[in-house]
Amino acid sequence: MTITETERIKVLVAKLGLDGHDRGAKVVARALRDAGFEVIYTGIRQTPEQVVEAAIQEDVDVIGVSILSGAHMTLMKRLMELLREYGADDIPVFLGGTIPVPDIEPIKRMGVREVFLPGTSLREIVEMIRQAGLERRKRRGW
């Protein structure tokens, strides 16, 4: 499914923390591009501050974070706090990577839309991000 000009969705794909596993982030970034999204990838080893700044400057519709280091609880907590502080918490956030199942609920309670575990199909990811991006555009009204 392609996206029309007016609804072209911008997504930030971010690698948070000291974590060199970039394969998943890159695979997802490419899948999104091929589905018609505009994707900005931050590169590895980002702080929550850097990710929020990039999201704000690029005014993305969706933030997708990838963490396979095990440090997701602290990093995501900080990221969500910062988004609220900056007034950018209207941007939906997704998380992917090696997240233990018991951590999923607490992470969603922080405000994260959905958590994608290893093996999730790219189609499912693309479709959920598309929905979230379109919703944000609609809420914004222009």
């Binding site: 018609g36 505009e38 990838y41 590169g43 990039a54 005014d59 222009w142």
Partner: protein, 315 residues
């Protein structure tokens, strides 16, 4: 946040508001002209175009320039243009990765833009954003355009200072490039000298020869050539000296402002092109016809309307 609040906040340097204002610029040409007209005019900002061969190190060099200028207290903005895929119309905007270490620097604002199907390495939004940044108070506005060769001459028309980046050891390829992108530089950078110092000297000789022979350079400015290694942080001071020298040159010769005129002209052209593409795409979606059939349909509609209005006489 409503529109006038956005303008007000962006003028005060609010980055969230600035980012959102740029999205209005990006959304459609009407939004872009609305934003431009709402912002007070401002003189003196310096637009620096960085172009050249793909992968030659444009973004890495830019990142070095940002470090320098921001440290000196200049407010710097980057418009980084990457191509969108003709296939999916999606895009991977890759320039930011090389500059992301500046993300939290309050003197630096980076925005990525895709060409959205437009040719020539530029996008409507990208061109409009230059003056939005200038009017918002940025001193140095950098624009990185894709290095596609010939078509890249477009960038010449919108920047005050044009930096063309090449790499050593291109040999005969440089001859081929000369006709297009190589002709337009105010400053030529031979980057990645760390990889091939011998080759860099050869490229330097070639460029020098071309300048001596009068093949490069225009209207009283003798192009500068600078050898750099962006990764080793070599030659960056010389590059900055050359950029500043050229800036003084255009100020001194009263040429500042012609870049802005050219941007306006280009905006009108890009606007027309964009409106046409939008119209074709909506016909494509509406009727399921392909681009060719859609173009015919558009022609039919325009002609019909023309006949309608000239015949109808409803004032």
């Amino acid at each position: 946040m409503d529109y006038s609040r956005l303008i007000e906040k962006a003028l005060k340097g609010d980055r969230l508001a600035t980012g959102r204002l740029l999205s209005i610029v990006e959304r459609d040409p009407r939004g872009a002209s609305m934003v431009l007209e709402s912002l007070p005019e401002r003189e003196g900002y310096h637009v620096i175009g960085v172009t050249g061969i793909a992968g030659s190190g444009k973004s890495t060099l830019l990142s070095r320039l940002l470090t320098h200028y921001a440290d000196k207290g200049y407010r710097c903005a980057v418009v980084a243009i990457d191509p969108s895929s003709a296939y999916s119309r999606g895009a991977l905007l890759g320039d930011r990765i090389r500059m992301q270490m500046h993300a939290t620097n309050p003197n630096i604002f980076i925005r990525s833009v895709s060409t959205r199907g437009l040719k020539g390495g530029l996008s409507f939004a990208g061109v409009a954003m230059i003056d939005v940044f200038g009017r918002l108070g940025y001193d140095k506005v950098f624009i990185e355009s894709i290095g596609v060769g010939q078509a890249d001459v477009d960038i010449m028309r919108i920047a005050d200072t044009i930096v063309v980046v090449t790499v050593p050891g291109l040999g005969d390829d440089i001859q081929a490039l000369k006709a297009g992108v190589m002709e337009i530089g105010d400053i030529y950078v031979i980057n990645k000298v760390d990889k091939d110092r011998e080759g860099a000297n050869k490229t330097m000789e070639y460029l020098l020869f071309a300048i001596e022979a009068g093949e490069l350079g225009h209207r009283g400015w003798r192009p500068r050539i600078v050898k750099t290694s962006a990764v080793l942080d070599e030659g960056i001071d010389e590059l900055i000296d050359a950029i500043e020298e050229h800036y003084r040159f255009i100020l001194g010769t009263g040429r500042y402002g012609s870049g802005r005129e050219r941007r306006r002209e280009i905006l009108v052209r890009l606007l027309a092109e964009k409106m046409l593409i939008d119209a074709l795409e909506s016909i494509e979606i509406e009727t399921g016809k392909d681009l060719y059939e859609g173009a015919l349909e558009l022609l039919r509609r325009v002609t019909a309307r023309y006949v309608d209005t000239t015949g109808g006489g409803e004032a």
